[in-house]
């Protein structure tokens, strides 16, 4: 790397935005013309490019070390001497089971019939395989990564921004609804799922009806729930309706 004179903040930011591809086509064109004529600018661009690459790489390295220590910090089950009677793990297991049983009873015992049904039948939509395409899909796909890892809140944040551009997109509305239901917000879920359910051509229409039904079940709106469940055409829907009668 050559020693280049210290450049001003303004000049640095101009070079940086060129390297990171943040310039408009016009800016880029005039910058490249300048680049052709000015060897010093060329040298600066080259130096800063290397520097930024290395900063990114060093940051990655730091993250890798974090992932590593996290992996190594996973508790290891202690190995007890062979002859010793292993009552301790048994006792722990027994008390965990007891605790689970008690909390299950408290949880289920206090919930309504509808909630019990909801809990018995609700499984979040597993998400979809995304095929990388145009630029607008990029944010959607990143949201799908969040969604599939169970970070529904992050997915909601990304997708809500996209919704401004595509308010009627059936896929987007469907997964926003699914994400809201997954974080326990059936009312919001309903608003989005309804949009998808209205789109006759949508491949998500039936699914949207199913989750709409479940959302309303959770919000204790049994009659509406039944209507939607009937439209879903699912075998489980009939079971739920039977049990509600």
């Amino acid at each position: 790397m050559d020693t280049t004179d210290n450049i001003s903040q303004q000049e640095f930011e101009r070079i940086e935005s060129y390297i990171l591809g943040l310039m408009t086509d016009e800016e880029k064109k005039s910058f490249e013309e300048e680049l052709n004529l000015d060897p010093k600018l060329r040298a600066n661009v080259k130096d800063i490019k290397v520097l930024l690459q290395e900063v990114e790489r060093a940051s990655l390295k730091e993250s890798l070390d974090e992932y590593h220590s996290e992996l190594k910090a996973t508790p290891v089950i202690p190995i007890l001497p062979e002859r010793q009677f292993k009552w301790k793990p048994l006792a722990i297991a027994a008390s965990v089971l007891l605790l689970l049983a008690v909390s299950f009873w408290v949880f289920v015992g206090n919930s309504t019939e509808n909630e019990k049904l909801f809990m018995a039948y609700y499984l979040p939509d597993p998400g979809m395989v995304t095929a990388m395409g145009t630029n607008t899909d990029y944010e959607f796909d990143r949201g799908m990564v969040d969604y599939k890892t169970g970070d529904y809140q992050a997915a909601i944040t990304r997708w809500e921004k996209l919704l401004a551009q595509k308010p009627d997109n059936d896929t987007l509305n469907y997964f926003l609804g699914s994400a809201f239901l997954a974080v326990g917000n059936p009312d919001q879920a309903k608003a989005y799922l309804e949009k998808t359910a209205q789109v006759e051509s949508s491949i998500f229409q039936k699914e949207a009806y199913w989750y709409l039904g479940l959302s309303l079940l959770k919000s204790e709106k049994t009659e509406e729930a039944i209507k939607f469940l009937q439209n879903s055409g699912r075998k489980e829907a009939t079971e739920i309706i039977e049990k509600l009668k």
Binding site: E13, E54, A58, L71, T149
Partner: protein
Amino acid sequence: MQEPTFNPFTQDELILGIKSNEPKVLKWLYQSQYPKIEKYVVANNGDEDQAKDIFQEAFITVWNNVRSDKFIPENGTAVTGYLYQIAKNKWLDYLRSSKYQKTTNLETKHDRSEEEEGNSESLQNHMEAEFKKLGENCREILKRFYFQKQTMETIAEAFQWTEATARNNKYRCIQRLKEKVNTLKH
């Protein structure tokens, strides 16, 4: 140490995640694949520390090659298989090298030039050391902006600065690094 039983990401999602430094993807790739390499290295005259170094080197090579489109996945296990292969090759190279002399029967030599890309190793080492020496704030700003691709607005908010202050601080941190690297050269 447990291994996830299935791959939650498609190849495209992995590639996209690597290109955009998506923490969830990078972390999954690291934590799901490392145990295999540790097993391999430990079974072949190495220890855990060596496994870690080799794996991280391989990880960074994969990261570089995916970003420069030198690597394009072809089948279901493409990215993870590629990572494993590179780490394995690197370990075999090490066993063959002068640092580790022993005459054992090893597999045929592979073409290393296929894998490597990027700046010189000495520069990388200097930079890594200098980066670590930067103050906490500097490291954090640079990492958030250049690695996590956060906007200056977000960064300013996180530090409770104005955006102008944040930009000025970023500039200064870069200058500091630049000076350090330049001094090393002279």
